[in-house]
Subunit: 215 residues, 2 copies
């Protein structure tokens, strides 16, 4: 049995949920509340599973995997159909680069632990924290828009006409951007692809609101 | 001809330089100065190459690739020997997770654009900026240490006895940590592996001080 340690609002968990659904893999959700009790990801039980104290963690019959994109690559290698990466090396590199533009350039700056540091250690007020959030999201998604809009390989989805690893990063990032009222008017390609994804059951079922731990 | 748009002190560029050297691939360095003239990565010429305005960029006979780990995966697929990922899916997932623990959890918080935002937008002083840098580096490397120390698959290098994608992330991160006088005493495994890597010519030749644009 596949077991996913997840938090409904964690966008890294959201990515893996989409991948599992696209692959048609059944899994059990183990909710890890990132706020309650000072954050259950910091407890000794969870730290034994992942010393980094982060979700998602995938347990595949006792083997433990961390880091959302490493988990998605693992699922791709162990369950190749339907593919989440194109066949050609250049296309694969493009899809990974789009995914990493989100996973390395946007999301790490805006996750919970960073926002907490801004408040607690740097005494940044709410308005400046929101400005920080929007700055990195808007700048980062503008770069993604440029990558997508300028390339003929962009199709219904980020790369061609079936969803890839890039799309499963894009949708959770747009979800976060909307939550923080970021400006999304300048992102026609991103938003068009986001809508196309949300029409697929695999994406819809992975949404935060549809998780067992949703609040 | 392979052409690498690089900055001597960029740790993402440093990763790709190590990969190119490990693969024995000759390449031409095109230096992009990230500070001079307000940052040449922001100029229209470079933005046309990479809308995100970031190094490294790899040009492989006119095909352009961005994002360091996507580039390393591309090199792995197009030049499989010597391998930078193990053969088994679980091992590959572990190596990618270690690499991403650095590339997604540490480095994005400490790169130039973020430090500039802290100074310019949040008016954070030098001491608090250094504390920020050290906090994310020390906490992040402690998680990497835990991943390495607790796992029998750790060998001379992060995974077994030949260098992988994990090692080419580890070495530039330790380089940065030293530059900012981070505490490294609690990281015996990380530091042992760092030394083993630096003894290899492929790693040594990729060092910032040995680049054509070194200052």
């Amino acid at each position: 049995m596949l077991r996913l340690y997840s938090y409904f609002r964690s966008s890294a968990s959201y990515r893996v949920r989409i991948a599992l659904n696209l692959k048609g893999l059944a899994y059990e959700t183990v909710p890890v509340h990132l706020v309650r009790d000072g954050g259950r990801q910091h407890g000794p039980e969870f730290r034994a599973l992942n010393p980094a104290g982060q979700v998602p963690v995938l347990d595949d019959h006792g083997q433990v995997f961390t880091q959302s994109l490493a988990i998605v690559e693992y699922l791709e290698e162990t369950h190749p159909e339907p593919p989440l990466l194109p066949r050609d090396a250049a296309g694969r590199a493009r899809v990974r680069a789009i995914a990493q533009s989100i996973a390395c350039d946007i999301h790490p700056l805006n996750n919970l632990r960073v926002l907490q540091y801004l408040s607690r250690n740097l005494h940044v007020d709410e308005a400046a924290k929101t400005a920080w959030y929007r700055y990195w999201t808007e700048q980062g998604l503008a770069a993604v828009e440029a990558l997508l809009a300028a390339d003929l390989r962009t199709g219904t989805f980020c790369h061609g006409d079936s969803p890839t690893m890039a799309d499963l990063c894009l949708v959770p990032q747009v979800f976060n951007a909307r939550r923080f009222d970021c400006h999304l008017d300048q992102l026609p390609t991103v938003m068009r692809i986001n809508e196309a994804c949300l029409n697929l059951p695999a994406f819809a079922a992975a949404a935060p609101s549809r998780q067992p731990d949703a609040e």
